[in-house]
Amino acid sequence: MSGTSEALKTGPRAELVRFDVEAIRRDFPILHQEVHGRPLVYLDNAATTQKPKAVLEVLQRYYTQDNANIHRGVHELSQRATAAYEGAREKVQRFLNAASSREIIFVRGTTEAINLVAHSFGGANVREGDEILVSTMEHHSNIVPWQILCDAKKARLRVIPVSDRGELEMESFDRLLSPKTRLVSVAHLSNALGTLNPVKQIIRKAHARGIPVLLDGAQAAARVKLDVRDLDCDFYALSGHKLYGPTGIGVLYGKADHLEAMPPFMGGGDMISSVTFERTTYNKLPYKFEAGTPHIAGVIALGAAVDYVDSIGLEAIASHEEELLHRATEGVLSIPGLRVIGTAKEKAGILSFVMEGIHPHDLGTILDQQGIAIRAGHHCTQPLMERFGIPATARASFGMYNTPQEVDALTEGLGKVREVFG
């Protein structure tokens, strides 16, 4: 099995090969189709990314050759499936540069990862009057689990405000950190604004007070070279399907010390070492947090996705997307009445905007008719929309396979909006 991309097969050494977006595009079968009679321009990568052949083939191969339950079969297929499953855990460990594969917990996605921490870490450590600190730019999945926890514990959810440019107000963050703060949970990269948050600074400041930090990495994982040990974050949550992998699989990274101390999230098979009606002892890490038969195929395919991304290189992807974002920002700003929402100094891969007098949904429909897929709506960040006094934005988000020509198609497509609306 090789996750190596076609993009790199042409050169002897990866670092000598320039970023060949056309070769990358050949690895993604779905991109080669027409929508409403126009070539598909897929700019909704923050919602989900497309999957390379390497991932699709692994899914197909697993179910046609190796499918079996893991961790308990004595037979050949089960051993193959187990080896592939645990092999993927090691791939993810290397991808995140975690200290140990015991720190990699497979979950359904970022949402489940955050819920796991809220339920397990929060359940054990948060008391009445304590505080959890999030920010205004969080996705609902990094708000609601904490609200549920705070309601149950009579704790308080505090919120780091966001500036007009869409940056965290760090002076307020300093003031909000208190002896009552039990956890800071913030987005690494904002899904609605594209803001890249100063997470190292946040972690350093929180740790100075002994407060752990969870990073919501749903958007960052495919756009930022990750090193959880260098970040020194306590938890990192990500979704496979936003990282060129399948839906229904994600990762919670947690420092072993935290995970060891935390009670299980769900009970069931595989997460125990022995069960009697009097006393059950839990399995060791990471299995303590993986109750029930997991999404085996999804995990193995996520491993293939991580291999694929590594074969291209996240630095190369980030620099490619930076060029696309820059070109797109300049392009859309040439459209009269268009305003970019989120003008932070540090941004990556995501461009949100509104057009005077035209609702984002209407923009979305008009672009769709030209084959251009963007997202229109509140992006599951209603408090952030309220902060900016808008009901919704239109959002273009880039992936490794997007081209400058596609960015220009977006700009041209937006130019046609006035033709329809007059």
């Binding site: 209407d362 429909t365 329809v420 007059g422």
Partner: protein, 150 residues
């Protein structure tokens, strides 16, 4: 781009730019908020009744061109109608935008509302076109204070 003209007809664009009866109604007998949690569109429909008749009707809120124009044209259409007539129009309108009935042209019960027939080609936008109508139905049947498209 041809299909877009079917969706964004001139009448619809006109109502979305200058919505009619776009105000609150101080003496409303019924007030219901319609909400589409998927996109965040909100519309509040105010109805004042005289007996069984819609004496006045208005709306407030924010939404896309389709939902705003639909709310605006709904209020124009329903003034003076009985609750029963209004609910029957809702049925007809719903059938039109979901493609179950075709536009019938002159003399149809829906009249000008037939400009929304293009919505049936855009299934994702049916909720936009019917948001205010769902709120209206709740207002007339006295069911709830808030209706959701979900």
């Amino acid at each position: 781009m041809g299909d877009l003209r079917d969706l964004y007809q001139e009448t619809i664009l006109d109502h979305s730019r200058r919505p009619r009866n776009f105000r609150t109604l101080a003496d409303a007998d019924r007030k219901v908020e319609g909400f589409n949690p998927l996109c965040g569109d909100r519309v509040t429909v105010f109805v004042s009744l005289e007996g069984d008749q819609v004496k006045d009707i208005s709306f407030q809120g924010s939404g896309c061109a389709i939902s705003t124009a639909s709310a605006s044209m709904m209020t124009e259409k329903l003034k003076g109608k009985t609750a029963e007539e209004a609910l029957s129009l809702f049925e007809g309108f719903h059938a039109l935008v979901t493609g179950k009935h075709e536009a019938r042209g002159n003399g149809s019960e829906l009249g000008k509302l037939e400009v929304f027939s293009g919505v049936s080609e855009f299934p994702i936008r049916v909720k936009c076109a019917t948001l205010a109508w769902h709120a209206l139905k709740a207002a007339l049947t006295g069911a709830e204070q808030t209706v959701s498209t979900e």
